[in-house]
């Protein structure tokens, strides 16, 4: 466990230095314990791959006390039992106007676009956390064969439902937001809906698979 002040009112708790199931399990368990036995100064907790960002009420506490309290949670968090994962299947229409970066990603790895699609849709991904925007799930690990860095300059608007990759990660954009990930395709499903329970299609800890569909199937599902 390593701590670092993120701001005058928040602290980053690092539970590992490498993306993977081990660090992530520690993140999820500490998150659960902090939600169950919430110290009164906690305002928000933001999980990520290997870290939790804890935002606190600085009128009630300071960084030193927050660090000491969370260290006191460490062992009990580890002793929590893991929960069973749910599986979510997401249909994707790859390439063309829906996946403007597919060809470039393929070229960067000396692959045919169809091979990139095979790699992307053959893996089962783990939902590490939600962040960036409501319902945006960070999924990993993307097969190393198609891992590609983020764009140097993010797009100002990524279309809703875009399925994208960055590094060893993949995700679906729930809203038309700015974004620096490379777009491979698009899903017709609503990723986040405030009037649905749960609001997000994907929750932290889910198992996620992508299945290729045609443009016709996309339009059919979009209407349904």
């Amino acid at each position: 466990m390593r701590f670092r002040a993120a701001s005058d009112q928040s602290i980053l708790v690092y539970l590992g230095e490498e993306i993977g199931p081990a660090a992530h399990e520690r993140v999820v368990k500490l998150l659960r314990l902090l939600q169950k036995e919430r110290p009164r100064w906690v305002r928000n907790v933001q999980p990520a791959y290997c870290s939790l960002l804890v935002n606190f009420d600085v009128c009630l506490t300071d960084h030193t006390e927050v660090e000491a309290t969370i260290r006191g949670y460490e062992q009990r968090a580890e002793d929590l039992r893991a929960t069973k994962a749910r599986t979510v299947e997401i249909p994707v229409c790859y390439g063309g106007e829906f996946g403007p970066d597919l060809e470039e990603v393929a070229a960067a790895h000396g692959l045919k676009p169809s091979r990139v699609i095979e790699f992307h849709s053959s893996a089962t991904y783990h939902a590490y956390f939600l962040g960036f925007a409501p319902g945006f799930a960070y999924l990993g690990d993307l097969p190393a064969e198609i891992a590609t860095p983020r764009l140097a300059t993010p797009r100002k608007k990524v279309p809703i439902g875009s399925v994208a990759i960055a590094g060893r990660q993949t995700a679906v954009y729930p809203f038309p937001t700015p974004g620096g990930w490379r777009l491979l395709g698009r899903t017709p499903l609503a990723v986040f809906r405030a009037d649905r329970k749960p609001m997000g299609l994907i929750s932290i800890g889910d198992q996620v698979r992508f299945s290729p569909i045609s443009g016709d199937e996309f339009r059919k599902l979009e209407r349904g």
Binding site: A6, P134, Q169
Partner: protein, 313 residues
């Protein structure tokens, strides 16, 4: 039931309260008023709870009709508000007669004006808050900025209202500044010493591509971290992240909740509301401070905001 009719919405007017700070695990950013201090003072002036919803007006205000009358206060940027051609003094409460039309113009000073109304604006809350998250179209009035013809409901004021005015001392203590105080960011040591020197010495300009999500700054490029790929982590409100091109971005109320760019610094809590008053082309500087100083500034500011005596003198 009282109401407010939007006769013209202005450039970008939305319903805002103090946001929804606790939904990080769902990927939901806090949102809320860009200048939370101005909204809170406005609410105090009309005897609302500090977190009542009001209107946030951006750069150019619109015109609003109160068919049943209302008690209102204007805080934040001065958008030249007037009723029947008579200017309305800022930072003080006013009783408007039934049918009164409140007309705003373009800003005379800062980026955002606030209209607080006794009883507060009533909308269906989303995750416990009335604030609009413009980027994702959630919360507030139909998840969007106000349009011509919208009719908003106004709650019943809690008690009869005494006319109030902010004290000169409070106004001075809360005023916008162009030197933002920051603490070191979690990746400050990824940047070269030269880059840090430049960051704390040079002037940065707020670009036109700045909104409630973030403020893109223009200035000397900050070298350092380009070669390292970072593991995405949670980001704090007011984080100053640096993209590979070397330009800093201040993450703001509708920010992404996590990010993969290194953060050189973070604006302190007591200056967050000042970010909300920066206009495009504003020139700003960053001043480094310690966690302890930032904490005492925050506590002093909270004490001021919670004390009617200090606030109204």
């Amino acid at each position: 039931m009282s109401s407010l009719l939007v006769e013209s919405p202005g450039l970008l007017t939305s319903v805002q309260d103090l946001g929804r700070p606790e939904f990080g695990p769902q990927g939901v950013s806090p949102s809320g008023a860009a200048d939370a201090v101005a909204l809170r003072v406005g609410n105090s002036l009309v005897d609302n709870e500090p977190g009542a919803a009001g209107l946030e007006l951006t750069l150019v205000g619109g015109s609003f009709v109160f068919p049943e009358g209302a008690v209102v206060a204007l805080t934040g940027a001065d958008l030249g508000a007037a009723v029947s051609g008579r200017p309305l003094e800022m930072w003080t409460s006013h009783a408007l007669l039934p049918g009164a039309k409140l007309v705003f113009g373009a800003t005379k000073d800062f980026a955002r004006g606030y209209l607080a109304i006794a009883g507060g604006v009533e909308v269906e809350p989303f995750l416990g808050s009335a604030s609009t998250h413009l980027l994702s179209g959630l919360g507030g009035f139909k998840g969007r900025a106000l349009w011509k013809g919208d009719v908003l409901r106004i709650g019943k004021p809690a008690k009869p209202i005494r006319r109030k005015k902010i004290s000169q001392a409070a106004l001075y203590a809360l005023k916008p500044r162009k030197i933002l105080r920051v603490t070191e960011g979690p990746q400050a040591d990824w940047f070269t010493e030269e880059a840090k020197q430049v960051f704390y010495r040079d002037v940065f300009r707020v670009t036109e591509e700045s909104d409630r999500v973030g403020l893109r700054l223009e200035g000397p490029a900050l070298a350092g971290s380009a070669s390292r790929e970072m593991i995405t982590e949670g980001v704090s409100l007011g984080a100053v992240q640096v993209t590979p091109s070397g330009q800093p971005i201040i993450l703001f109320v509708e920010q992404q909740t996590t990010g993969g760019y290194p953060k050189i610094a973070n604006v302190i809590g007591a200056d967050l509301h000042r970010i909300g008053q920066l206009r495009p082309r504003a020139e700003i500087r960053f001043e480094r401070t310690s966690l302890a100083v930032a904490r005492s500034l925050w506590i002093a500011q909270e004490r001021l905001l919670n004390s009617t005596e200090q606030l109204f003198g």
